[in-house]
Amino acid sequence: MRIEKCYFCSAPVYPGHGMMFVRNDCKVFRFCRSKCHKNFKKKRNPRKTRWTKAFRKSAGKELTLDNSLEFEKRRNIPVKYNRELWSKTVEAMKKVESIKNKRQARFILNRLKSGKELEKAAAISEVKKNIHLIRAPHAGQAKQLEDKMVQKLAEDVEMDE
């Protein structure tokens, strides 16, 4: 029993799910759901369909080259069962998984960093241009003026005295 990868979106296809299409040149295509199958029949290129993993990897939106990704690889030469090897492998899998997730998250975070700068600049320019929508140019100036006048009067009075 194996969990396959969907040809179109690279999602896991569990046993009992999805569809398999075998072409005349003996190439096998597995699909996780009818959405992918229908897109495939429409001859869409998964590398250009934005929501698929193939697109994301080819457009550099996700981590592609990394040592932690090299652990999971389809091997053609079977290895004879050996209890300790298998148990060690399961332990190793868990560790590798955690490292991989960390690295993938960090990659995406780094990618989004530049967006933050742009956000900052946009906020500043927005405020500069359109402050008049929420605040009148001389919002507190009347009061200020009054206070100033009061102060001046008071000074005058003082001077007079």
């Binding site: 040592n67 090299e70 298998w86 500043i124 405020v127 359109n130 929508l133």
Partner: protein
């Protein structure tokens, strides 16, 4: 060679049918419409065509008959003789000759009349000529009635002849009637020849096929032969004689030891000696049949002497019984072997030997030195052979185990696995963990690689890659962000209100709209200005002026009646209402009836207008990960 053609001879129609067919064909296939006012060459051509067409048809069919029937000189002499016996060679040749003559006559007739028709000067003349021509052709054919009938019968009989191949291996059975030839052929082959107690049950030749030493053999059953001279033999016997004469076969002369056929052994011996010349150059076996009734040893002295003489002459005598199958196989084997040897001998003497010699002669290479070179047999083959011979006790099979355990048996193939630690054979192997296939991670060097990875990860952590960057933004930046969000919200609201305004109708200038004091003050207050006690401001004057209204005089009473009526009539929401309680009830009824309308934002009862027939948020959008049955 000629075998297959016998079945493919064209049907010979009777004279009447023949004429009918041809004439009706002429009528159908040639044009039928002609008028006397046509041009004469056209009329002539029309009738000439008919004559020629009829002639052509006759010619074709007769030629086909002539070619289909076998020429007695061309076929194998066995068939030639057989046909002679059955159908009389002379009669056959005569019939075909007649047909040929008829064909030529028809051709001549047609030629003559076509020539005459060239001089026909009217439709009537040409038509008469055509009639005459066709009539003569048909008469010629009518005279061939007998020949055609005879040929048809010959054809039918020919097609039913058994397909005897004169060149292949054959066994021929002969002897008196009722001695057991047909029973023998029934036993040895799949043929189903009639066996009855009366003489001449078998009236013609029958063929059966059998297999021996991976070869196909023909067994020919003949009708019984009686003992008279050749000239006095009837057709049926002649068939047997023909077969004997022409087929190069092994002869099985069948004798009835028990004399149940009605003829004494001495008579059978007489016959044997009479047809002896026919057995020259053929392997001969004498079958002493019906030995279940009486054996040779039970016979009288003279009879036993007969057989002794035969054996002394070198002829094989085998006792057989078709009933008990005694000796049948022996006869078969003996006859076939001897015939094969005979055929090989004959082939060796002919010129074609060299083609076949490689099949008859095994070439062995000559030794060039004294070194022994035995054939190489691999050891495994030798062991296997020894094991087969010895019948060694086999290892315990799964099947044996199954039988032993009965219901408790489960097929456990894991016990045959070849692992490094045999105690792990019964382990349940995990295949999947959290959506990943374990088989994809299995690698003998996985621990080493994992160590490298962890080391790398440590280095990265040390380098500070994973530090969470909490940007401590200064207060200014936070304030700016807040202001920016407020600005955006305000803009959106403004856009929405501007979308909601009514764009139909004339566009009035801003001054036509009256600005409420309260809204103005509220807006300005939102923008941060101080709007308290602004009663004296310029924009508040208007409202003041509205308060100070001019005092009006009491209005004059209405002059006309209608005016007075309208003045005296009570307003609608008070007419019919008796008291305050009823008024209150009426008012609530009015309000509640309007509730639903107002809730739906309708202008009135009759407003059924739907603003958004196809709301976008329900119908548009991409298909996210969900099923297709609902959006």
């Amino acid at each position: 060679m000629a075998l297959y053609n016998f079945k493919k001879i064209m049907v010979v129609p009777t004279a009447k049918d023949f004429i009918d067919i041809t004439l009706s064909k002429t009528q159908r296939k040639t044009p039928t419409v002609i008028h006397k006012h046509y041009q004469i060459h056209r009329i002539r051509h029309f009738y000439m065509r008919k004559v020629k067409f009829t002639q052509q048809n006759y010619h074709d069919r007769l030629s086909q008959i002539l070619t289909d029937f076998p020429k007695l000189d061309d076929v194998h002499p066995f068939y030639a003789d057989l046909m002679n016996v059955l159908y009389d060679k002379d009669h056959f040749k005569l019939a075909l000759g007649q047909i040929n003559i008829a064909k030529n006559l028809i051709d001549n007739v047609a030629k003559d009349y076509v020539r005459l028709m060239k001089y026909g000067d009217s439709l009537y003349r040409c038509k008469q000529l055509k009639r005459a021509a066709l009539g003569r052709m048909c008469t010629i054919l009518k005279r061939q009635k007998q020949s055609l009938e005879y040929l048809e019968q010959v054809r039918q009989h020919l097609s039913r002849l058994p397909t005897i191949d004169p060149n292949t291996r054959t066994l021929l059975l002969c002897g008196y009637p009722n001695v057991g030839k047909s029973s023998f052929i029934n036993k040895v082959t799949r043929a189903d020849v009639e066996v009855q107690p009366y003489a001449f049950t078998t009236k013609s030749l029958f063929v059966g096929h059998m297999d021996y030493k991976y070869l196909r053999w023909q067994v020919v059953d003949t009708p019984g032969i009686l003992d008279h001279p050749l000239e006095e033999r009837n057709t049926i016997e002649m068939q047997a004689i023909t077969a004997l004469a022409h087929l190069r076969a092994a002869v099985l002369y069948v004798m009835d030891v028990s004399e149940q056929c009605g003829h004494a052994l001495s008579q059978q011996l007489e016959l044997f000696n009479n047809i002896r010349p026919l057995f020259a150059n053929k392997p001969l076996i004498v079958m002493a049949n019906k030995c279940d009734v009486r054996k040779i040893s039970e016979l009288s002295e003279e009879n036993q002497k007969i057989f002794a003489d035969l054996i002394a002459e070198g002829i094989t005598v085998i006792e057989t019984s078709s009933l008990t199958d005694e000796g049948v196989m022996q006869v078969k084997a003996e006859a076939c072997d001897r015939l094969l040897a005979h055929r090989v001998d004959t082939k060796m003497k002919t010129k074609k030997v060299h083609d076949v010699l490689n099949r008859l002669h095994l070439a062995v290479p000559t030794k060039r030195d004294q070194k022994a070179r035995p054939p190489f047999i691999p050891e495994g083959a030798l062991l296997r052979r020894k094991a087969m011979e010895m019948d060694a006790p086999k290892r315990k099979l799964e099947r044996d185990l199954e039988v032993e355990l009965g219901d408790d048996y489960t097929l456990d193939l894991q016990k045959y696995w070849d692992l490094m630690n045999p105690e792990e054979k019964q382990d349940k192997i995990p295949e999947v963990w959290e959506g990943h296939n374990i088989a994809d991670y299995i690698d003998p060097e996985i621990m080493k690689r994992l160590e490298d990875l962890e080391r790398e990860e440590e280095l990265r952590e040390k380098a500070g890659e994973y530090d969470s960057e909490e940007e401590s933004e200064d207060e200014e930046m936070q304030e700016i962000r807040q202001l920016a969000s407020q600005i955006r919200e305000k803009r959106k609201l403004k856009i929405l209100t501007s979308k909601e305004k009514d764009t139909q109708g004339p566009r009035m200038p801003r001054t036509a709209k009256k600005v409420e004091r309260a809204t103005l003050e509220k807006e300005m207050a939102d923008l941060g200005l101080d709007m308290t006690d602004k009663d004296d401001s310029h924009y508040a004057l208007r409202s003041r002026s509205l308060v100070r209204k001019r005092k009006r005089e009491v209005s004059a009473p209405p002059t006309s009646r209608t005016r007075s009526q309208s003045a005296s009539r009570p307003p609608r929401d008070q007419s019919g209402v008796r008291d305050a309680k009823m008024l209150k009830k009426v008012k609530t009824m009015m309000k509640s009836s309007q509730k639903e309308m107002n809730r739906q934002g309708r202008k009135g009862e009759s407003d059924r207008h739907v603003f958004d027939v196809k709301p976008k948020h329900l119908l548009a959008g991409k298909r996210k990960s969900g099923s297709t049955s609902r959006r």
